[in-house]
């Protein structure tokens, strides 16, 4: 209903950076080889992939040989969990620990492993969505084959004490997987200082192309592939590579790495303005940790308003935000976010959550306009609500 649309859903996906697009277009126009071919075209494609591997490794403080390109974060998470589990199975271990706020890619992989006989423990989080390292320590067993805790939560934005958790697992020689899909390109990540075994990232969360991602696999960590075929990516990810996508991922990683601090400063300023402006309204509260949170993420519970209507209302006013509970409409109705339920909220609160995630290109003016629209939207929706408390 308005020409200028304000995009505030960067946790869902980020717009493709023009410079990334240029790099991809250059490759798509020029390249024609299969990276596995011996001829010149093949070698050109291979070169493009290896050139992209370096900035991705650099973004994570890793070596290029530790990067496995995948089709995205979900595939990277699946490869880590099933790959590590399959190796551990042969040594008789059958216990897995995950946090209770994992992204569906990890949550559902763990559920599948449980169905096939693995014992799975889910470590609780506090009201801010953070894992207590003592709780993880208590869950570990001699036969624990794998631990998975995300770097930062995709819904509420809470950043986990990953380094502490990683060190705890490293001491016990338990493989530790981290879903860093929301964190990569936004938070300083250094594999030299944080002893994780595997770590998943996704290109389109930091202005790269959708359908690209990578799994960091620490040198010395072994895992079995889940895709079998021509043995690409050190045998861990068969299938002809998405060369243009990988080129784009590399370009996005390079740009993010160079602008990490500046982006974080800009995002934090906008984020804090959203938080202060929105929580000044009656019946609006912040979910997730007040400080230990992603630089771009605001997650709000709005009393007396259901998220879906609020999101669509704001959309009609030209502001695009995320529905905090990812209202998965099934025939039986919708499901409340398991993350908010794990944080101790009740179903109604969990239905009333919206996620506002800013990006590098948002402006202060946009944020002020959003806050006005947000206030108007919740006022009108509350007038509609028969149960509004405020």
């Amino acid at each position: 209903m308005t020409d200028h649309r304000v995009y505030l859903d960067h946790a869902a996906t980020t717009p493709l950076d023009e410079r990334v697009l240029e790099a991809m277009l250059r490759h798509l126009r020029g390249g024609r080889g299969n990276p596995s071919s011996l001829h010149a075209s093949g070698a050109g494609a291979r070169e493009a992939i290896e050139a992209a591997r370096e900035p991705v490794a650099e973004l994570l403080g890793a070596a290029p040989g530790e990067i496995v390109f995948t089709s995205g974060g979900t595939e990277a998470d699946n490869l880590a969990l099933f790959g590590l589990a399959r190796v551990a199975e042969s040594s008789g271990e059958h216990h897995i620990v995950v946090s209770s706020v994992e992204h569906a890619a990890v949550r559902e992989s763990a559920r599948r492993l449980q169905e096939s006989g693995w014992q799975v423990d889910r470590v609780a989080v506090d009201a801010d969505g953070a894992v207590d390292p003592d709780d993880l320590a208590a869950a570990l067993r001699p036969d624990t084959a794998l631990v998975a805790v995300m770097w930062a939560n995709n819904e509420v934005g809470t950043v986990q004490p990953v380094r502490e958790l990683a060190e705890m697992c490293a001491e016990r020689r338990i493989p530790f997987h981290v879903d860093a899909v929301q964190a990569a390109g936004r938070v300083h990540i250094d594999m030299a200082r944080t002893p994780v075994s595997t770590l998943a990232i996704s290109g389109h969360k930091f202005y790269g192309p959708q359908g690209t991602g990578a799994l960091y696999v620490r040198d010395g960590v072994t895992l079995d592939p889940i895709l079998l075929g021509g043995g690409q990516e050190h045998g861990l990810r068969s299938g002809t590579e998405n060369v243009a996508g990988i080129v784009g991922l590399g370009a996005a990683a390079r740009l993010s790495d160079g602008a990490l601090k500046e982006r974080a400063r800009h995002e934090t300023m906008l984020r804090d303005r959203v938080i202060s402006g929105a929580t000044a309204l009656p019946g609006v509260s912040l979910n997730g940790h007040p400080e230990k949170r992603l630089s771009n993420s605001v997650h709000l519970s709005v009393d007396g308003v259901e998220a879906e209507g609020l999101v669509l209302f704001l959309d009609a006013l030209g502001f695009e935000v995320g529905s905090g509970s990812a209202c998965a409409s099934a025939s039986a109705g919708h499901k409340a976010s398991p993350v908010l339920l794990a944080m101790g909220q009740d179903e109604r609160e969990a239905f009333s959550a919206v996620r506002i995630t800013v990006g590098k290109d948002n402006t202060e003016e946009e944020i002020e306009a959003f806050l006005l629209a947000f206030s108007a939207a919740i006022t009108q929706l509350r007038e509609l609500s028969p149960i509004s408390a405020t």
């Binding site: 259901e306 879906e308 209507g309 669509l312 209202c327 409409s329 179903e347 509609l384 028969p386 509004s388």
Partner: protein
Amino acid sequence: MPETYRPEVIEHLVRPRNVGEITDASGVGESGDAACGDIARFSVAIQDNELADVRYKVYGCAACIAAGSALSELVRGRGLLDAARISKEDLRNALGGSLPAGKEHALTLVLDALHKAFEDYWNRAAGDMLIEGYGGNGKSGGKSVVAAMSGGVDSAVTALLLKESGYDVATVTFRLHDGEKGSRSCCSPDTVLFARDTAHRMGLPHFTLNLKDLFQKRVMRDFVGSYEKGRTPNPCVACNAHVKFHAAAFLADGLGFHHVATGHYARVGRGPSLARPKDAAKDQTYVLWPIPQELLARTVFPLGDYEKPEVRRIAEDRGMAVAYTPESQDICFIPDGNYRKFVRKEVAAEPGEVVDAAGKVLGRHGGVVDFTIGQRRGIGVSAPTPLYVTEVRPQSKQIVVGRKRDLAVREVRVRDLNVFLDPEEASSVQVRYNGSPVPCEVEETEDGDWIARLAEPVMGVAPGQSAVFYSPDGERVVAGGVVARNDS
């Protein structure tokens, strides 16, 4: 968001119509609950059967908000009958077509809230009238009828036949008790919702009347009380005597309609009197006898001229979902058919003695409420010949047992009579639900009871059951009443 909404939905979401609450509303209705995520509330101002004002509030998804807004727009300023006719399909069309998968419940939710507001309106209008016994006025209306709809095939076809024979039809479903299937959950199939949907598919207005209090006082309490007093009650008779027809007449008078109709198999004959239907196997005259004459005069039983298989075929031919609903057998408020368990939940039955006709104690029993005359099972006394309950004595907590022939009765005392025709015409009487009429002679006593002298003995006549007298040709009900205790 995986689903996309039509622009009509978004438009209603951003500019919802008729938001709010009417402070001095004629009726307020709410549907849904927070656990399901969605709540809708409608308040209506009704004047001269017109919706002068409609206001709504919704907590829920965009579809619910938009559906509430669109519905309020559809019904505001309309006549009550037209408003009660608005269907899910009408509402869907007003929203530009079908909603995304999983969102269709929004239509049901807001319609239900509006209809609950209508229900509240009728409730307020009725006040204590129904509880006190509504006689009706039946002054108004021409070829117009309120048809009761239970959600089954018989009542649905009744409404259809009336519509097709040129009546103005309004349908009504009665909320009688909390035991309806699924009534605890807003998301599961519900009798009222199903009946409403059936009516709307026929283009008929639908109302719901809450008769729980009336039903509790006049039917359920009587049911339990009868067992306590050693009588065998018939709750369908009690309902026909005090609930169904009176409530339908109340609604008809409220709408300015003349007739009332149900899906019973019976006919209205001269007098007016009750007459047997075409389908003898489905004959329900035995349970309809207590309808007061002034109500019977306004009553139509369209199914009296049909046989059950024809009725089912009519429903099938029209593609009505109700065609395939199962035949109801049990007492509606005891769906599992376990009467004893139901009664025992309500009353504390004390143990007592099992005696023979001479007063000799043969054993003990757990409570008189467990027994009815003619019962063979559960007596707990072994004897060379099978024993039957021949009498229940609640005061002394005794069960009298005897042989089968001790059950034979040749004389029945009947009271609380509802007389349609000249008593002279009474030539046979039916005294059991699954029995058939037996030739008899009738003598009227000083206190107005009838003594029926039976031409042949009948087994197991239980006080509390109905006695229905038929005319010499067996086709018309002369009178009906309740079997009294022999000693009283």
